[in-house]
Point group: C2
Chain length 324, copies 2
């Protein structure tokens, strides 16, 4: 079995060689720009790792791996329009650098390209792979819509939040691993286990992301620490604070969220103080560990020798201690 | 062989029965709204007619027919955002009735649903159908981007215009017929002929659309006659007028296009006067006939008895004399 870094190199090279040219330039320049912004490339690496685990050759799963990465970047592109995000990986977003119409249409084009790439899998697995891919794509849309709905909702329960991040983030991690497994010829049961492994890991990953926003070391973190707090984003941390704090803490949180003008550092330190008082960090870590442990149990259920699974368990562990 | 009206009924019923429910409602309400706005359903009917022509059963091609119609409506939905269109079939557009974010995301969802439906074809034709569908979807995006580019271009040649409508409109008509044929078990060569028939017919259809905007009978026409003239849309008529008129007519056209404030009826009658003087109607009809005749030649090349093709040639003829 090969390592994540080996597959990362394969993925980076394949993205480099991917033909994303065409006319008119207004449509394809943003597509290449988006794909060249970089990123951790976790999902395509997972496709290849899972495929390798079941004895598939890299070439069997590379088109699907690229398709998943192009699809993921398509969702980021359209999400950035909806979130009115000015920056993506410290660079101007497409709707800012070009315009929203071009962002919509080059996103649509990326989605079709992702379908084209995914349909490059071995024909005997095509229908199975497509069924899972399309189902997942629909769920990702549903997750994004729920996320947008949450912005306008007075209260969101922790269960609703976990459901939302399952759809928006976790199912694509599960599907990446499952699609890789299918391409590698895995048994139905093992594909299900690895899907659940990825889904639970994806939830833990997102909770870790929520944590990093507040508790990351600014020197190592790519974004502004506390960005979610300043934008009143309903993260697991905020929802936990609301759920477990007393009436006066809750009222103070609400006051900060409703303030139109404030000193950023003052808002941050006040909210974090409430978080700390209510053990929000520890509660989030506990939830994260819960899903991480579920994931490891799913991984253990796969009918492959434990030694071969080490690449996936190591990767899972790394994702839980990353600092950005 | 069955008639277009028989298949239209099949399509209408299948759209009625199509499951477009799901959560959250903000995502699926617009999808159902869009699909229930109606329309001529020409593309899915063509899928079924072509399938029937080669002896396929309706059930073999119905999923693909629905997929093509959902895809077509997805493109209308996203185009309406980009064109800032307030109305679609006399009803508020999705980005107006809901908002642009919901319009983007419910459009994305429709696109995935169209892929799901299309992948319901017989597995032995799946790869072939998908290859053509995805290629066509990319071309439709390219056509829409070209159309948007034209708005900001000083001059557009007639050749560029024909290329744009080929991509934006005609290839999907060709692909509808070709996909139906593939599902019906047509030979490669016949699939190519019917694709070209559809593509040429699609160009003629769009030229007829451009004509109707100016020369339709307002009592029978669904939209405001002259809408393209008032919005300075670079249609075949306008480009023909620019290409064939003398310097003074061209200058007058430019004056009308640059005027910010004007009397609508005065602008319409002045522009139409220039059109009439330069035989724009006749020139457009001539170009339309050219593509119509090419289409009929393509139809004649298909290796099926002429009698069976009558449904398609009748439909083609009807499309050329429609009044809305």
């Amino acid at each position: 079995v090969n390592s994540p870094s080996y597959f990362l190199q394969k993925v980076e090279q394949a993205i480099e060689e991917l033909d994303l040219t065409g006319r008119p330039a207004e449509l394809y320049d943003p597509v290449r720009y988006m794909m060249q912004l970089g990123g951790k490339r976790i999902r395509p690496v997972m496709v290849l790792l899972a495929n390798d685990l079941f004895g598939g050759g890299t070439e069997d799963a590379l088109p699907a791996a690229l398709g998943i990465e192009v699809f993921h970047n398509f969702t980021l592109l359209h999400d950035d329009i909806m979130d009115k995000a000015p920056l993506r990986r410290s660079k101007p977003t497409i709707h800012v650098k070009w315009n929203p119409d071009i962002a919509i249409l080059s996103g649509d084009t990326m989605f079709v390209r992702s379908c084209q790439l995914i349909s490059g899998v071995n024909e005997k697995y095509l229908k199975k792979v497509l069924d899972l891919f399309y189902k997942t794509a629909i769920q990702v849309c549903e997750g994004q819509q729920l996320d947008m709905n949450f912005e306008n909702m007075g209260s969101v329960s922790i269960a609703e939040y976990i459901h939302m991040i399952s759809l928006k983030t976790a199912v694509l991690v599960g599907a990446s691993l499952a699609i890789g497994s299918i391409c590698g010829g895995a048994k139905e049961e093992d594909t299900e286990h690895i899907y659940e492994f990825g889904k639970n890991l994806g939830i833990a990953f997102q909770l870790h992301d929520d944590l990093l926003d507040v508790y990351a070391d600014q020197a190592k973190f790519g974004k502004q620490v506390g960005g979610d707090i300043l934008s009143n984003k309903k993260t697991f941390l905020l929802l936990t604070a609301v759920e477990f704090s007393n009436q006066s803490d809750r009222a103070e949180l609400m006051t900060w969220m409703n303030k139109k003008e404030y000193d950023q550092d003052e808002k941050l330190s006040s909210v974090i103080k409430i978080y700390n008082k209510n053990e929000v960090k520890e509660r989030t870590e506990k939830e994260m560990e819960k899903y991480y442990n579920l994931a490891i149990r799913n991984l253990n259920s796969i009918s492959v020798d434990q030694e071969s699974k080490k690449m996936l368990s190591d990767l899972a562990q790394q994702l839980m201690i990353r600092e950005k």
